[in-house]
């Protein structure tokens, strides 16, 4: 009798301990809470234009902010923007300080162990860009042309692998050198990120960098906590709808000066 009591107490204690120690992964209730409180908390960047930067009125502006506002609106909630850095954006999510991370977040295996990803909502890629009058759809089309690139960058390494000796690759010290070489016509094309190309567009130059072909693609996803199935479904549905009705395309044109790629 006594023995059974002790055993029962032990079992209870173990259960309580186990319950207490188990990771406090919120059950699938984030969506319920959002619906109840009508507030969607989103981690956004403030140091990474055009995805997120601080505007003249000291409020964050950018692609990610517009995407967050769009998703909150579709959920019928008010958006609460939480500025984060690239190092603390995932901890903000896993500790429950935010519901979503919309912070130009790329997908990789290590991150997938910790959080879940929605479908892609923003393009992020390296490609070859050049003015309208130059035709180049694949690496072979670059033969005989001059391409500027920032030395040692991802696009430099990748471009060096795919082009032949007939291509003149000019390597500059930093992105500003590459941009200047393109704007002054010292190179016909540039291999760079779509964000840098967008920065060139901002200056409204006579020679606009139009995307020719893709070198490396790593689009951005919305980050969610694990086991948030309903929220994930909702976010994916909103992204799919925004892609269909052109509202996401409008955001892309506004901030990246290029329409959404069809395969996004």
């Amino acid at each position: 009798m006594r023995f059974a009591k002790i055993l029962g107490a032990l079992g209870l204690a173990t259960a309580v301990l186990a319950g207490g120690l188990a990771p406090t992964h919120a059950k699938a209730d984030a969506l319920e809470r959002i619906a109840k409180e009508k507030v969607l908390r989103v981690a956004v960047p403030q140091d990474f234009p055009p995805f997120g930067s601080v505007g003249t009125d000291l409020k964050p502006v950018g692609y990610d902010i517009d995407a967050a506002t769009l998703i909150a609106k579709e959920m019928g909630a008010k958006v609460e923007l939480v500025p984060v850095t690239s190092t603390n954006r995932i901890p903000y999510l896993t500790t429950g300080k935010v519901d979503l991370v919309i912070s130009s977040l790329g997908k990789n295996a290590e991150r997938e162990k910790v959080i879940d990803f929605s479908t892609a909502y923003a393009p992020f890629y390296n490609g070859v860009f050049g003015p309208d009058d130059i035709k180049a759809e694949k690496p072979e089309d670059l033969d005989g042309k001059t391409v500027g690139v920032t030395r040692g960058s991802v696009e430099d390494i990748e471009l060096s692998k795919i082009v032949s000796d007939k291509v003149t690759v000019r390597r500059y010290e930093d992105n500003n050198g590459t941009i200047s070489a393109f704007l002054s016509g010292q190179v016909q094309l540039v291999a760079t990120g779509n964000v840098v190309a967008a920065a060139i567009f901002e200056r409204n130059p006579p020679r606009l960098p139009i995307m020719k072909f893709l070198i490396k693609n790593s689009p951005c996803y919305v980050g969610l906590n694990k086991n948030e199935g309903p929220l994930m479904e909702k976010v994916n549905a909103i992204i799919a709808k925004a892609k269909d009705d052109g509202s996401l395309n409008a955001i892309a044109k506004k901030w990246l000066h290029a329409p959404l790629p069809k395969d996004l």
Binding site: Y172, E173, G177, Q186
Partner: protein, 224 residues
């Protein structure tokens, strides 16, 4: 020591380094010949009795000697295209180096000309020589001999300064070193080798220039 040295990782990049050294030598050779020629012309103009010419050359010398080489290079490469003058990176590099060496050597050679005793010029005139003849046969030779060591140093400085041309993607030795470093991430080995190569190039350049000086302006050099 956590860093393990690996100079063999540079072997794959031998062609890049060789190209870089060849380009540096080529840039230096062309700019030296043209730059010293410009300097002789500039010195002649600056010491001439034609005042407007002397003023114009003086302005050129002051402009170039009081602005950084990198800015001059960027102006030529990135700036001039706005005026419709688009130069390839090696053309821009040579032009910048010629213009730069031209200004410095104008001043150096002018100093040699100023040091020519008046009596020698008068002696030339009394032999019935014209102004250009006096400059060519009486003034220039001894003047060049006097300033040859200073000019040699300036040419070495220009050769070492050509490393700046890597900033406009002229693929000389520094560009090669930076390129390799951005690929194999071995800064110590790469820049150690680049340093050794520059040192060897500079020593060789001084040797070649002293040979040339000894041949052409024997008197002055032996005194220097």
């Amino acid at each position: 020591m956590a860093y393990s040295f690996d100079f063999s990782s540079l072997l794959d990049y031998t062609p890049v380094l060789v190209d870089g050294v060849v380009t540096t030598i080529g840039l230096t050779a062309v700019s030296t010949v043209l730059g010293v020629a410009l300097g002789i012309g500039g010195a002649a103009a600056r010491t001439s009795t034609v005042k407007p010419l002397a003023v114009v050359v003086g302005a050129y010398v002051e402009l170039i000697r009081n602005t950084p080489f990198l800015v001059q290079l960027f102006f030529i490469f990135f700036g001039l295209p706005s005026l419709g003058i688009r130069l390839a990176e090696w053309q821009a590099a040579v032009l910048a180096m010629v213009v730069n060496l031209g200004a410095y050597s104008t001043e150096i050679i002018r100093a040699g000309i100023d040091a020519t005793p008046k009596g020698q010029i008068e002696a030339g005139a009394s032999l019935g020589m014209t102004g250009p003849q006096i400059f060519r046969y009486v003034v220039l030779g001894p003047a060049m001999g006097k300033i040859w060591p200073a000019l040699t140093s300036q040419i070495v400085i220009v050769m070492l300064g050509s490393s700046v041309c890597s900033q406009i993607a002229a693929e000389e030795l520094s560009f090669a070193a930076n390129f390799i470093q951005s690929r194999n991430f071995r800064p110590f080995e790469v820049y150690f080798l680049a340093t050794a190569l520059y040192l060897a190039l500079a020593v060789a350049l001084r040797w070649v220039l002293s040979l040339i000086g000894g041949r052409m302006f024997a008197k002055g050099v032996s005194r220097a």
